[in-house]
Assembly symmetry: C2
Homo-oligomer: 495 residues x 2
């Protein structure tokens, strides 16, 4: 078969069940998979099945979230002792919040850096989905690169899942670059979005390939929702802001390289660019979603760099069956490179990420409901926001039919400090916080981003706090009162 092009490896082909036996209780396992794309599928499934009979616990590292309900199955089977660096599964989320699974929520660029420097235990074994193994025994990833390359380099043994459901033409799409080791590390040579700096496949010693499993199961479709009135409103505010930036001479009509977080709001914002006056756009992002391909089709986007391609059911067949149409405009990189602070700062990225809530001073909570319960994880938002040319956070101004304001006196958990937040956008409007002191930020945010139902109470809080003084005025007895009300009465404000 031309999917395994090194004949001496053919005798490593085995069932997923047999391959899964290589994974032993207590091991650390690094698996492919980034935002429901390109995850190993059969081996973790077999592992979950086995664990239902025979108790087995592992530390599981991936690129980001997995599809095909794998985190659910692994959680239900009790396989996950520790999990990093990101997840989106509701069953796993519950186990994390109950303290049953130890979840290490990480900046997505940092996991393999910490492994490389032995700050984390190296994976004993890597399980990597591939479209092919080359003549040299190198691994060609599928719809994501994520942390797969470094996992394969670090692990003593590698299980490769060759997934026949993926178009073999994915080969050539990837650019695998791994930074050199400290103390002799050299600059990452990437200076343009479209630049290729690495190899087409993951270079490993083929003797480490301990098993090859043939699979035929597609990625799960993304769960992105179509734009609605609020997300359209957010997109409109942002496009008007970009126009003003161009008019002021701070950006060209090509804007800067765009990064968009996972999810419906960021996707809707990107879709909004289709009917914008901007041209010849580029993306330097983590996940390439539907909007990336809509923008390419509209002739707006000249190139997109990411770490995965995660599409809805609507878009999936269309893109992957017509890959030739897109291939010259795409590259998939390791998430360490797609998210690397060095590259983000150099390229001057416009980072658009979703906030769960933000406060009147512009601190952003991306992860913790009520300050305690993990939703998904910080993902790459910190990698981008800290070093972006423009760090933009978007959210709808209210949630749960108005029971919740997304703008609060003090966030219940901080993922991005005021220092790393330039622009906040809700459907109500846009707050440009650049160069403003906290008291100025507060007035700008309250005037522009807050839902009318919450504007007067927030202004009242702010003014009473100012009367007490401080660079960042707060009333500690009230700062969390909106969250406490929500927890105890189901609404942030008594009606």
């Amino acid at each position: 078969m031309n999917r395994v092009r090194r004949p001496d490896l053919l005798d490593k082909v085995m069932s997923a069940q047999d391959a899964a036996l290589l994974i032993e209780d207590g091991m650390t396992v690094g698996m492919s998979g980034f935002t429901r794309a390109g995850e190993a599928k059969a081996v973790p499934q077999a592992l979950a099945e086995r664990a239902r009979m025979q108790p087995l616990q592992i530390t599981l590292m991936t690129g980001a979230s997995l599809g095909n309900d794998l985190d659910k199955q692994l959680t239900e089977a009790g396989v996950l002792a520790r999990r990093m660096p990101f997840q989106v599964d509701s069953t796993l989320r519950k186990a994390i919040n109950e303290g049953q699974v130890m979840f290490i929520d990480q900046h997505l660029s940092e996991t393999v850096e910490q492994l490389r420097n032995h700050q984390l235990k190296l994976p004993d074994i890597a399980v990597i989905e591939a479209v092919a193994i080359t003549e040299q025994g190198h691994i060609v990833p599928t719809t994501s690169v994520g942390n797969s390359a470094s996992f394969a380099v670090f692990a003593k043994r590698i299980i490769v899942e060759i997934n026949m459901a993926h178009n073999p033409n994915l080969e050539g799409l990837h650019d695998i670059y791994i930074p050199t080791y400290r103390p002799t590390r050299t600059p990452i040579p990437l200076v343009e979005v479209e630049q290729r700096i690495g190899s087409n496949a993951i270079v490993i010693d083929p003797a480490k390939i301990a098993a090859i499993v043939i699979t035929n199961q597609p990625d799960s479709p993304s769960t992105v929702l179509p734009p609605d009135a609020e997300t359209q409103g957010i997109a409109d505010h942002l496009i008007n802001f970009f126009k003003a930036e161009v008019d002021a001479g701070r950006m060209t009509n090509e804007l800067g390289p765009l990064q968009a977080g996972i999810g419906s709001i960021a996707n809707a914002v990107m879709c909004g660019l289709i009917d914008s006056p901007f041209e010849n756009l580029s993306m330097y992002s983590e996940v390439l979603q539907d909007s990336t391909f809509d923008l390419i089709d509209a002739g707006k986007l000249r190139f997109a760099s990411g770490s995965s391609i995660t599409l809805s059911g609507r878009r999936n067949a269309d893109v992957f069956d017509n890959l030739d149409r897109y291939k010259q405009k795409l590259v998939l990189r390791p998430q360490e490179i797609s998210n690397h602070p060095e590259v983000v700062r150099r390229l001057g990225i416009i980072g658009i990420n979703t906030a769960l809530e933000f406060d009147i001073y512009g601190n952003v909570n991306s992860t913790h409901v009520g300050g305690t319960r993990m939703m998904n994880g910080i993902g790459g938002s910190g990698d981008f926001a800290r070093n972006a040319h423009l760090a933009i956070f978007v959210t709808k101004s209210i949630a749960k039919a108005g029971a919740i304001s997304s703008v609060v006196p003090m966030v219940s958990h901080v993922d991005h400090t005021e220092h790393d937040v330039d622009i906040l956008v809700t459907e109500q409007g846009l707050a440009d916080l650049r160069g403003l002191a906290p008291r100025e930020r507060a007035r700008t945010i309250i005037e522009n981003c807050v839902h009318p139902d919450f504007r007067a109470p927030l202004l009242d809080y702010f003014e009473r706090a100012c009367a007490k003084g401080g660079h960042t005025p707060h009333l500690l007895r009230e700062a969390m009162s909106w969250h406490i009300n929500l927890e105890e009465c189901g609404r942030m404000l008594a009606s």
Copy 2:
């Protein structure tokens, strides 16, 4: 005179009062000065004098803090409408906390990046202290580089203060590199601590030099306190940790390039390395304090890169009168380069910074007393902590004779999130948080870092929060209660 080596500039020599007249009401002014080193002295003094007669307000940008009570004088004279990116003056601090001066607290690597990209208003005028102006009309800084180079490049006009009190032998110590502009920016070529990548002087068009003022006033001495039992305890815990890292093969006996924040605790920790088994150390830091030179004298430190030299009265004459002894082992860079995320990540820096307080999950407050009142500013701590090989924060476990615990249920302000904090140290012990989930971090911190008087109450809070659940368990009604007690009763815990 050989301090102004371009004869056509000699007719620009004038009094500080005359030079200060170039600064008009409403202007943005960029001045030299970084942690009480190398600030322009006579012109801001003249400006303050003038403003006492005739109202005048400016936006003042510097490298970091100023010495010689300049921020005090400027504040008292009402000159400061806006101030960035850092300060340490008690009079200015009070004005900031009363909302009279708009203070923009920034990551120190970011100010000139935001100027370069026109996110902030460019300085109309730069005031730069120098030891000399070269034959080419370029400016040789004194004891700090800070943001001086970029301020001089951006400003339409430059006032140079030639300070005769500085040893002219400072010339040759500086390495001025300015990143190229986006979208064609190239990697910062620095790959070793001792590498020189720029010029010895600030390259500008000499026609921009509008005034030269001759001064003769030394830098203020640093206010660093000598080590005490607690800071020695912190140093001991950290050195034992480094030994264990070396034993585990995660570092060599040279450790990594060291960064130490400003102040007595970080300075004491560095002094502790004098009697350690580590050899051939290097620093890649912002401020070179007394400890840097003590380590060089002890034969422990082979090279130190910084953005300023800030010494105590004890050390000042000794170092600057014997500069030849140290010059080959030192370089001063722009703070954009000394603190650049790209370089910090590449070199694998061990960053040691001081926390005001941290919480049981390892979030760090570096700036805000009681969540509201600004102390100094975040400084470079974020530049280093985010990308460091090891992000270490140190503090004494209690303050105000035990009225305050430096470890609290929830910090009242977040400057560094749990993601960016690897190691916490107090005189009680060291918490190694690498690879731990929040609940594990809490137990490690409570066991190792908390003063015995506060250990049981913190553990009680944590366990009751865990019973309620969540990835990061908290009781919102109690999370800030220690700070509220302190504010209302003068103690975090009722005795």
